[in-house]
Amino acid sequence: MSLNAKRLKRETTDPWWVRAIIISLSIAFVALMLVLPLGVVFFEAFRKGVSVYLAAFQDRNAIRAITMTCLAAGIAVPLNLVFGIAASWAIAKFNFRGKGLLIALIDLPFAISPVISGLVYILVFGMQGWLGKWLEGYGIQVIFAVPGIVLATIFVTFPFVARELIPLMQEQGSEEEWAAISLGANGFQTFWRVTLPNIKWGVLYGVLLCNARAMGEFGAVSVVSSNIRGGTNTLPLHIDALYNDYNSVAAFAMASILASLGVITLIGKTLLERKLEQESNSSLESPTTEGTS
């Protein structure tokens, strides 16, 4: 390296000790705050051996909690998928009154505490709530029952798919759809053959995050759940109950499921982000110029 090049390098990069401090600080922080606790979950779960770990899953209440979690996510995720695609389609492709309000409202669950959303459902559907008595007349119990859990889960996971798709669909515009329609395609064909392939990775990404949140939600479901074991306890609530009983191996064994789900989500998310990036690159490649009337 010539003297000039050396000087240039020195002038364009920070001194080595600045880089070293910043890099090691961030690594240390992530290790201490994120990786270590996650490792502890698995360490504690297997501390008394694999057989004790597996025994935790034999429990009837544990199986019930896992089923409840899968049920809540199984209903909330598809519903929010349909809603998310519909809302982002409406926002990206049409102009209508109240569009700004709709965008703001979609973000509402992000803005308010999950506990509040649980309480809101009690106020609406609870026995003393607005609709509780009326629903009871039809023998429907929402709060402290499965429907309440599902509703609370839908509420907190509401924005995930829509939030992911709105910017993606806005960026893509509606020219391809118009092209399909001008070629004689009907609405369904246009959606299925043109729109959906263009947003499929975004949809998967949204579903992945939505599912992770649906399965991991604690605050909102804890308010509307009866907290009866083997009743309407979801996995996070069950873990909390086990831990409060000082049954830490069982608690960590259950927690390891959610932690694994988190790791899988993270891997899937990274892969999908790469796909999404490729996709937006390929759309950027097409030459564009200004100037239409």
């Binding site: 020219e175 092209a179 399909a180 004689g184 097409s286 030459p287 009337s293």
Partner: protein, 358 residues
């Protein structure tokens, strides 16, 4: 197919895109809608295609072969629409892009797989992209993509081709080649074609008729030579190419500035009115000595020899700049150098008096 547009208006909120437009396009014509950004030309094209609905008005109609298509959705109008940015289906191969219009037909009207293959292959041949069927749009150049977009539109055998700034995103050389190719294709297929463009050269070169639009209205409709040589308004003469503008005053039936006098065809315009005199750069001759009364003294400030003609910039005595195009032969004959004093003489001028447009 003949297309007739009657009293069409379209506004988007407070913005008026089209103001009471009427236009008739004959069967087999290639017509350009020419105008600057925001003149309404693309909106007019989208109204014809059915992608925008005109403002409700009982007198406004869009007629295809005399039949009102107001209630026909885009897909039933049998229009081949080509978008400025191609709008190719990114995730489909070139083959599937072109086959799309055939594949989405109801089962009873859908051609067989082998018919689709033959049709697409013949279209690939037409656009000179044989062997490109398996490629994806991102693997093509801009000009190739636009040809695929055209083939895709042609696959449904449209009665009318609507092209929205089809060459706007391409570089000059490709644009020129595609323009000539499009004209040939139009003649070969015998379709009716409407082309939206803001490039006056493109419009004048390729079309049978040019519709010049400005601010939601049609300024002039006519054959290219007609709009070029007999512009109907200041806007048209200004938009159709380089032009010198001089401010003058009316005096005894003539527009006067310094010692330049242009006779008016309408002598009734009162004296003292402001007049704008438009002179195209090739309608001005240059001499070393004054030629008649209308010659104006000027100084050569710039000579550009790159081109078929030499482009000169000169400065008049009143410091106004004037552009003149002369042939290379004449340039060497006059042996002009920067700073030379010369005399310029307009051979042809158009005068527009506000409110008294002639």
């Amino acid at each position: 197919m003949s297309i007739e547009i009657q009293n069409i208006s379209k506004s988007f909120g407070a913005f008026t895109a089209l103001k009471d437009i009427s236009l008739k396009i004959e069967n087999g014509e290639l017509v350009s809608l020419l105008g600057p950004s925001g003149s309404g030309k693309t909106t007019l094209l989208r109204v014809i295609a059915g992608m925008e609905s005109p403002d409700p008005n009982p007198n406004s109609h869009v007629l295809f072969f005399g039949e009102d298509v107001a209630n026909k959705p885009v897909g039933d109008r049998k229009v081949g629409f080509v978008f400025q940015h191609y709008a190719l289906f990114k995730h489909m191969s070139v083959f599937e892009n072109i086959a799309f219009g055939l594949r989405v037909r109801p089962r009873s009207q859908r051609p067989s797989e082998s018919n689709i293959r033959d049709k697409v292959n013949s279209l690939l041949k037409l656009i000179q992209l044989e062997g490109f069927g398996t490629r994806f749009p991102r693997q093509l150049s801009g000009g190739q993509r636009q040809r695929v977009a055209l083939a895709r539109a042609l696959a449904i055998e449209p009665q009318v081709l609507l092209l929205d700034e089809p060459f706007g995103a391409l570089d000059a050389k490709v644009r020129k080649g595609l323009r000539d190719w499009l004209r040939g294709l139009h003649d070969e297929l015998n379709t009716t074609t409407i082309l939206v463009t803001h490039d006056q050269e493109e419009a004048l070169e390729v079309s049978d008729r040019v519709v010049v639009m400005n601010q939601a209205k049609i300024e002039q409709v006519g054959a290219p030579a007609e709009v070029f040589h007999h512009p109907a308004s200041e806007f048209v003469i200004d938009f159709l190419g380089n032009v010198n503008v001089f401010q003058g005053r009316i005096n005894q039936g003539q527009a006067v500035l310094d010692n330049l006098r242009v006779r008016l065809s309408d002598p009734s315009i009162p004296d003292g009115e402001q007049a704008k005199v438009y002179v195209r750069p090739n309608d001005i001759s240059i001499d070393r000595v004054p030629q008649g009364l209308s010659s104006m003294a000027a100084q050569v400030t710039r000579i550009n020899r790159a081109g078929v003609q030499a482009k000169l910039s000169l400065e008049l005595d009143n410091k106004e700049e004037i552009r003149v195009d002369i042939s290379m032969d004449q340039l060497s004959e006059l042996n002009l150098q920067l700073g030379d004093a010369v005399f310029v003489h307009p051979n042809k001028a158009r005068v527009f008096v506000p409110d008294y447009t002639i």
